[in-house]
Symmetry: none
Subunit: 213 residues, 2 copies
Amino acid sequence: MKKLSDRQQAVLDYIAAFLDQNDYPPTIRDIKNELGISSTSVVDYNLKVLEERDLIRRNRNISRGIELVGRIPQRSSNAVAVNIVGQIAAGLPIEVPEAFSQEDILGQIEVSPEVAPRGGEGLFALKVKGLSMIDALINDGDIVVLRAQSTCENGETVAVWLESERETTLKKFYLEGDTVRLQPANITMDPIYTPADNVRIQGKLVSVVRQID
Amino acid sequence: MKKLSDRQQAVLDYIAAFLDQNDYPPTIRDIKNELGISSTSVVDYNLKVLEERDLIRRNRNISRGIELVGRIPQRSSNAVAVNIVGQIAAGLPIEVPEAFSQEDILGQIEVSPEVAPRGGEGLFALKVKGLSMIDALINDGDIVVLRAQSTCENGETVAVWLESERETTLKKFYLEGDTVRLQPANITMDPIYTPADNVRIQGKLVSVVRQID
DNA sequence: CAGATTTCAGATCATCTGTTCGTTTTGTCT
DNA sequence: AGACAAAACGAACAGATGATCTGAAATCTG
């Protein structure tokens, strides 16, 4: 197979770059202008070449009908995509992940399959706002992945809503009689004791992801 | 917030369905025909409503300039698998990820493509041993993902090997004259100052992943 | 019910955008 | 240099597509 000409490679690169920037493909004229080509027919000519080599697919008579082949979303075999459906902050109740339509989703985070049995069913993710969970070694901006559940085992780290304090926190949960001990992940910090009926378990912590920059 | 009308919901659903089917967004007329609407103005009107609610974004005067907000562009190739090639602990130099055979790999971690350009090239992951990086909000057992590099910009969080102390640490890097200030991520903790020739940059921190149980 | 507001229709216009055709330039070989 | 093909060009064309205007129907509100 002959190599692509510089121009063909440039066209291909530009389409990819454009697609990274926008959610729709470029027009022939977009390409023409960007690459400093003086005629649309030149672009058309080169697109034909790329099409013959199966590097792109073209939909005739349809504007922006350029598709990059090989960019078909290949569901990553392993990782599970979990939707980021809101924020979590000390002073706010967790928004429960039920009536979330596609549109509410802030983004997605990939988690390893070990922590996401059954394809990540029941998992949701929240973006941490503020420094209130610093004692759980969770920073502002971190993404926490939770499994929705309203009960838990002793020793599990859960997101709980404290009724009387009206705040959300993320701690290790220990039921001791009819009081609950909430232990920060940071072992240097002291636990909180509170009546059992003051805590509402929102979900179990499954993973924390911090992405720098 | 008022609920979407049936038609608005239908439009939204159709755009999503269309985007699943093709790599480019639908035109106003595509929507009109599919939903049996008799005028493009009706579609335009409803798109305006959807736009005001931030469910879509429109690019004026551009054909197919409809973007679904909150939708992960399919091009974003999914998670990238990064090999976990060793451990990182305060007292140990980082094992450099070069001659690692398959057998040395402790496992893999998936990271989002945003932090892994070029398919995760140059990335490697280490399992944190011990509590020495607690000041960087990194716990025992966490996985840190690094990009191999021996230089960095000021303000970047990097893994450095301190020659005289003979230990590895993970801090924000600031070169100030011929000394280096290493600032813990935890803002309540004090920085370390050390001569520039005492630090060996091992890699830049890209992501931190904590998996509970 | 009356008026206001929202939603829809039909038609028309302006522009965006892909296609085509004839021509010219460039590169490669003999 | 001459022959030939690949690549680039420029203009013109036509279909594709978004915007807008006017008015009517449906729905809501008091």
